[in-house]
């Protein structure tokens, strides 16, 4: 794997998980409520499970910068999320908040599964063996610019999901 691409994926994923941890800590009660609504674990365990999930995400975020093996941690977390979402989609409970962070909740949808699958592919890329080559200043610039672009497009895709939801709710009123 070309180191510029590998590093871009690692830094972008680390940033994503760091922001996710920050948002979950900020809205901890909301995150706990979302986890409870998933109804996959006993209510008494929700608080501990929520805390450990945040710690896991934090560890993965830091590990991503340190070692490529952290890609396994990312895939592990994403598999847990996908299973939880898929079970509730199968139950037909699309109205619950996905608990993915952000100011206003996002309802469950199969689009979230697609999004997580894309993230898992990125994490697989991190795991591929690196071609050893020294990184020059131009490479560092390219990594920075690519991470910036990915962050902006990620935010835009979140907004698009929200817009799609607005369109659906508008069709409901007409």
């Amino acid at each position: 794997m070309e180191p510029v691409i590998s590093w871009t994926l690692r830094v972008a994923l680390a940033l994503l998980f760091a922001i996710s941890v920050w948002e979950k800590v900020q809205g901890f009660s909301k995150f706990k409520r979302a986890m409870r609504d998933y109804e996959l674990i006993p209510r008494a365990w929700v608080s501990i499970a929520a805390r450990s999930l945040i710690v896991c995400e934090g560890v993965v975020a830091i590990a991503l910068v340190a070692t490529p093996w952290s890609g396994l941690g990312v895939i592990g977390l994403l598999v847990v999320y996908c299973v939880a979402i898929a079970i509730n989609l199968a139950r037909g409970r699309t109205e619950i908040d996905c608990g993915c962070g952000g100011t206003d909740g996002q309802p469950l949808s199969s689009l979230l599964l697609v999004r997580n699958a894309l993230l898992a592919i990125a994490a697989l890329g991190v795991l591929l063996p690196l071609r050893s080559r020294p990184l020059g200043p131009h490479d560092i610039f390219a990594i920075g610019a690519a991470v910036t672009t990915i962050s902006i497009l990620w935010t835009a895709s979140g907004q698009l999901l929200k817009n799609a939801q607005a369109v659906r709710s508008m069709e409901g009123t007409r």
């Binding site: 609504d37 409970r93 131009h138 390219a142 610019a145 672009t149 607005a166």
Partner: protein
């Protein structure tokens, strides 16, 4: 890398980042547009009669001298649209033909209501060809209906019950009154609030089930 490759490398990245910013701004603007085009309707003000309750009992005189009565005891065969205007209000003047055509289309009797100096009203009526019998000048009417802003419209059904009311500035606002009557809600605000509550109760229901 050669110098030309370097230049193109940096220039292309700058363009890519710039483009993605444009995409982000566009998606946000689409989001804002969705919020703006949520159903628009007449704004109901808090004072005055409540929707679903009888209109206040008021006796007034039209400009041609005929007695016009409002309230549940007034005898009438059709619904009535009470349109509060002032000859000095520009929006009222512009909206007047629109309100007239909507009233005709919905088979309701349109009554204009105003107060203040009589002279103003004469030129207003003349320029808009309003029947003198459909124009009531009465301060009591405005007070009883709690009119604070113009143009304001109140839809009263054939039993003298207020069905919808609100501040109207556009054709959509006037039509929303009839829409509200048809749906059995007091105003678009009530409708949107009811929609929120319905989705809330759906959520509660879902929790209760599991």
């Amino acid at each position: 890398m050669t110098e030309s490759q370097l230049v193109s490398h940096y220039a292309l990245w700058a363009l890519v980042v710039g483009l993605s910013v444009v995409v982000l701004v566009l998606t946000r603007q689409v989001g804002i547009l969705h919020e703006r085009i949520a159903p628009a309707g007449a704004l109901a003000l808090s004072s005055g009669p409540v929707v679903g309750e009888p209109a206040p009992q008021v006796d007034a005189h039209a400009l041609d001298g005929t007695r016009v009565r409002f309230g549940p005891e007034a005898e009438r065969l059709t619904s009535q649209l009470l349109f509060f205007v002032s000859p000095r209000c520009t929006v009222c003047r512009e909206l007047q033909p629109v309100v007239r055509s909507i009233a005709t289309r919905n088979h309701v009797r349109l009554t204009f209501a105003s107060d203040g100096d009589e002279l103003d009203h004469d030129s207003f009526i003349a320029s808009h060809q309003i029947d003198r019998g459909d124009y009531v000048v009465s301060e009591e009417l405005g007070t009883q209906f709690g009119i604070a802003k113009l143009p304001y419209a109140v839809l009263i059904d054939e039993h003298g019950i207020v069905r919808a009311q609100g501040l109207v500035n556009t054709r959509e606002h006037v039509e929303s009154l009839f829409e509200a009557q048809e749906l059995g809600v007091g105003s678009v605000q009530d409708y949107l609030q009811g929609k929120d509550q319905r989705s809330d109760s759906k959520e509660v229901h879902a929790h209760g089930l599991a």
